[in-house]
């Protein structure tokens, strides 16, 4: 096992690996703060709360209601009875505490940048697709393409997820408390995926970069995905990350296996500043 001496620390106290075609992660620089302006992002007060009963509402009406509440400064919103509707909780570009007291359908919480979302039920396909920052915590199971193309934040499912988890993942962390299906980490480009249970076949197929940790059995590795060396830093990272969400692995984080890209398909050394763009 490698030691912490083999790694460098970011001057903000965070970890940064050297750019060698392995995991590359950079963090927000205060110098860029003036660029972080979004249309349709709002200043909210998390002490101001509101509840929406979505039983008779369409997804569009739910999303508009959330937006109007944020516009009025409400920072903690609870949605009752979303009843597995599709495309709910999408496009939220500011900090917000958002709770769904039920399950969501397809494309829930996609294209978000900043909110902390708690879903007390299950989610359908493509939850948190293209998520940029924030956290999404799902208490039950999730469908396929969980966290497709996410760029940042923590996407956490306490249960099991379907196939193609983290397909095209470009950053952030995906945590699965249970099992994941085939083609998880397919074309992964950056970020971390933690699977506490088993992983289906073709794990990390055609991955360019990033790291996948698996606590259980891997049915089969995909092309270009190879076992990596677990370091003390990995153990520390996994411990703190899983503790944060109260998730346990069956055999402890020390027994988890690490998987990385086997060859340098492409080296992403031109990272976008802190994964954020100026909205013009």
């Amino acid at each position: 096992m490698a030691t912490l001496k083999d790694t460098k620390s970011h001057d903000m106290g965070l970890h940064e690996e050297s750019l060698k075609g392995r995991t590359q992660q950079r963090f927000f620089s205060v110098d860029e703060s003036s660029n972080l302006t979004y249309f349709n992002s709002f200043e909210v007060d998390t002490d101001k709360t509101a509840t929406i009963d979505a039983l008779e509402m369409t997804p569009r009406e739910i999303n508009i209601e959330i937006r109007e509440l944020m516009e009025s400064g409400v920072g903690s919103i609870t949605v009752d009875n979303p009843m597995s509707r599709h495309g709910v909780g999408v496009g939220i570009l500011n900090r917000l505490n958002l709770t769904f007291n039920d399950s969501l359908g397809y494309f829930g919480c996609g294209l978000i940048d900043g909110p902390n979302v708690h879903i007390k039920g299950r989610v359908g396909w493509s939850c948190a697709e293209n998520m940029m920052a924030g956290t999404v915590l799902i208490e039950m199971n999730a469908g396929s393409t969980f966290g497709a193309a996410i760029r940042g934040g923590d996407l956490v499912c306490r249960g099991s997820v379907g196939a193609r988890t983290g397909i095209d993942q470009k950053g952030g962390t995906i945590i699965v408390g249970g099992n994941t299906g085939a083609f998880s980490g397919f074309m992964m480009q950056r970020g971390r995926m933690i699977v506490c249970g088993d992983a289906g076949r073709n794990l990390g197929d055609s991955m360019y970069d990033g790291v996948i940790y698996v606590g259980g059995e891997v049915e089969e590795l995909g092309i270009d995905c190879v076992p990596g060396e677990m370091t003390e830093l990995d153990v520390r990272y996994l411990t703190s990350k899983l503790d944060l969400y109260g998730i346990k692995t069956p055999n402890g984080v020390e027994k988890m296996n690490k998987y990385v890209s086997g060859k340098m398909l492409w080296n992403y050394d031109k990272l976008e500043p802190s994964e954020k763009k100026i909205a013009l």
Binding site: N101, G105, R122, G124, A163, A182
Partner: protein, 312 residues
């Protein structure tokens, strides 16, 4: 894209309004396929054979003045051939001018009977069985349900389909479910595309199986029928189908007392499953299952290459 759904009530539950339950699920999946809707519902076994057939396509009624007389002629021929085959008509109903339901007192060779009746031009037997009734037509679930009086259909299990036509025409012939001719009480619905359809169709036709449409999904029904004719049980046939069928698919099969589900090895087509104490409900999207429950339920996605069979 198409939507599929299934329900099976476990043993002990003798009868539920399975028609209304399936209608609410299929209506929730309307956005996955607005072209046609189909049901395979399993009712009470009263000892008779239920035969559902159509004697024309819905669209034919719009384009011909002579079709009404032709339909009358075809039905007269059906009646004559049933009598000739020794099938006594206990009850005869029609939901539309072209869709008929026969209740038959018949214990002979089903294949022989079906072949004889289907030899009449324009006649297609949608299903035959002691409990299965297969209903399919153009329009969404609310339209088809109202047309065929499915809001009060009591039964134990059912599968259904909302179709977005991609591989073949928008007509009743290409709508799902498909009956696994000539095996009574077996039906199939499918979501996906099969890429080795023609190769296998030619093989199966050489073995004497009949295809009534050009829809790739029919291959699954015929494949299951072929396997069963070799004495293979449903679950084994479904497991073998994962390698046999090429493409992306999730399909459901029902028999007189079973509901099965199979998913391709890429898990490319969705399926959500609810397993309760009294019933199993599954659908392309959870939103359809939630039409049966007003509270949060525990559901899961089956994995790639997974086959599951539930018993009534």
């Amino acid at each position: 894209m198409c939507g599929i759904a299934g329900i099976i009530h476990k043993k002990g539950v003798t009868s539920e309004n399975i028609g209304a339950q399936m209608t609410s699920m299929l209506q929730a999946l309307k956005h996955r396929g607005p072209d046609s809707t189909g049901y395979a519902v399993y009712g009470e076994d009263n000892g008779n054979q239920i035969m559902r057939l159509k004697v024309a396509e819905a669209i034919e009624l719009e384009g011909s003045y002579s079709i009404h007389a032709e339909i009358a002629d075809r039905i007269a021929l059906v009646d004559a051939r049933l009598a000739e085959s020794g099938a006594k008509v206990v009850k005869k109903e029609n939901a539309t001018e072209y869709a008929f339901r026969y209740e038959l007192d018949f214990s002979g060779d089903i294949k022989k009977l079906v072949d004889f009746v289907e030899d009449i031009e324009g006649v297609e037997i949608l299903s035959i069985g002691s409990t299965l009734e297969l209903i399919k037509d153009l329009g969404d679930a609310s339209v088809v349900s109202a047309q065929y009086g499915l809001d009060n259909f009591e039964g134990t299990h059912a599968i259904g389909h909302t179709r977005m036509a991609t591989e073949s025409d928008i007509d009743i012939r290409s709508a799902h479910p498909y009956w696994a001719y000539p095996f009574s009480d077996i039906a199939v619905v499918h979501n996906g595309q099969l890429t080795n359809y023609w190769t296998h169709r030619r093989d199966l036709e050489r073995k004497g199986h009949r295809f009534s449409s050009n829809c790739d999904s029919e291959l699954i029904a015929v494949y299951i029928a072929n396997k069963m004719s070799d004495g293979v049980d449903l679950e084994t046939a479904m497991r073998d189908s994962i390698d046999f069928l090429d493409g992306v698919f999730t399909y459901l099969v029902t028999t007189k007392d079973q509901l099965g589900m199979a998913k391709d090895c890429m898990a490319a087509k969705p399926m959500v499953v609810y397993e309760g104490d009294d019933m199993i409900a599954l659908a392309s999207e959870e939103i359809a299952i939630r039409k049966l429950f007003d509270h949060q339920i525990h559901t899961f996605d089956p994995y790639e290459g997974e086959v599951k069979v539930w018993q009534h």
